[in-house]
């Protein structure tokens, strides 16, 4: 593990911002673009309680790039018109970031997601927790090899349509 330069830290924040604006703007293609092209690139959304108990079933287990692409298909095509739509605001704060032996970066951030359902108009907390990421840095560009959203919620206040 080694320290990152200010410039490298800034490029991580650019990635965070791209991720947030993709989800808050419901732009699934842009969300997908925050992940590396590696066929093993993954997104997992799971509850901390289950992680601590060694339980592997996740709320979303997109453990390969094909599943990341399918996630976009579920939302944009298969589920279109069936769910109660909602808007999110993601707030995330980098807490640690270190370079690993293989050159990738391990980053941990806190997150909080507020959602406003179209039908009630009332903002509510959807989830809070941490992102545990492995990031590939390629020149100035960063993308997720893996992002795991670990929720402190053991119970979600409603069903999830979009990734956290």
């Amino acid at each position: 593990m080694s320290k990152l330069s200010l410039e490298e830290l800034a490029s991580l924040d650019v990635l965070q911002a791209a991720y947030i604006s993709a989800l808050d703007g419901k732009a699934m293609k842009a969300w997908l673009d925050t992940f590396d092209d590696d066929p093993d690139a993954s997104y997992i959304c799971t509850a901390r309680n289950d992680v601590e108990c060694g339980l592997k079933v996740a709320m979303m287990l997109d453990d390969c790039r094909d599943r990341l692409i399918d996630r976009c298909t579920f939302i944009e095509d298969i589920w279109a018109g069936t769910f109660q739509d909602y808007r999110t605001r993601h707030f995330s704060q980098r807490v640690t970031a270190e370079r690993r032996e293989d050159g990738s970066v391990a980053m941990s951030s806190n997150f909080s997601v507020i959602f406003t359902p179209d039908d009630t108009g009332l903002p509510q907390q959807l989830a809070t927790g941490t992102y545990e990421d492995i990031i590939r840095m390629d020149g100035g560009r960063c993308r997720f090899l893996s992002r795991t959203a670990v929720t402190d919620n053991s119970v979600l206040p409603r069903y999830l349509v979009f990734p956290l």
Binding site: M59, L61, D66, T82, Q84
Partner: protein, 396 residues
Amino acid sequence: MTGQEAYQRDIVWPANYNEIPKEIFVRQDLYQAEINRIFRGPEWHPVAHESEVPLPGDFKTCNLADVPLLIIRGEDGKVRAFYNACSHRSNQIEVKPSGNRTEFECPYHRWLFNSAGELVGCPNQREFTPGFDKKDYPLAQPRQESLGGLLFVTLSPETDSLDDFLQEAKTSLMDIMGGDGRLRLIGYHRVRYLTNWKAYSDNDGYHPPLLHQAFTMLNWQGGAGRQYATTGRGHYCIDTELTVPKPTSVIRDTSVIEFRDEGRPKRSSVLALFPMLVASNYLNVISIRFATPVAIDEVEVNYAYFAHQDDDEEMVRHRIRQSSNAIGPSGLISMEDASVFHRVHIGNRTPGKAVFQKGVTDPSRLSFEFRQNDESGNLPHWEYYRAAMGFRRTAA
């Protein structure tokens, strides 16, 4: 009329079996009566599968409506349900959702219980009432029985045996649990739905293919099979030959809808037990959905997912990947159900009746056999509910 409740007087129950007054979903005094007559009444409620607490000292806490429960596997290997309340002054015993302990200490006056719920220590005993004996103060237990490792409790002394409660749903339940109930827990989805408990249970087991675009997009047809409701409580089972969608280019990772041979008949089964349990064995997903009302307009559903003890590691991995993404509150083929629970509840705040149509050949009679996707399969449980709550059906 003596002893008639206000809700029984005010709500007119229609003569036709396929009509349900919507007021029953939103009326607060009726909700309280349901807690007493159904959730604390003569019904069996599944609270845990033994595989959720595999080792001695493993525990989980849960609620049956407003009643807190603590499920522990004892040192003797036996799984027991207790009320989650100290036998002294009723302080809540365990606060964590799950974990492992050899002993359970109540922090208030330090009474100590073993994993079989026996009181094994309490300070200052000499000052207690004359004749005080620890043996008289174990953690209290509701009545309980289990089937295939699935533990049911009832809070009423009047409840029939579990066998009589289940009737032929017993066989369907065992089939869903891999035939022998030798399961291995692989995880959970826990979620709240903003809906009345009856709207949840009326719409979870029953699966209209028109709602699920995944079925259409993946060109997925239903197969032949048997659908029935029990005569006692209207538990209903939808059992069909499992069909697997034709090769598709709509999704790239088809493992999410792939059926791998697990040495059982290729079937897809969904069972809904009165009042709230849904269990299903679908593709390679074995799921038991423990559900409970939280308030008149809110339920909590704990989808528990299982592998079978005879699975090899590859099969366990497949089940984990499929359970995560296929079924459940964000699942490819079930997310829309969640949306329907919410929207039906909002609609139920309007006056009038909900009317069941598909498969209803004669609204003046109940039938216990139906076809897949018929709405008529839900009617026997509604009739049981009506009688349990003491509503009188309008004369035809």
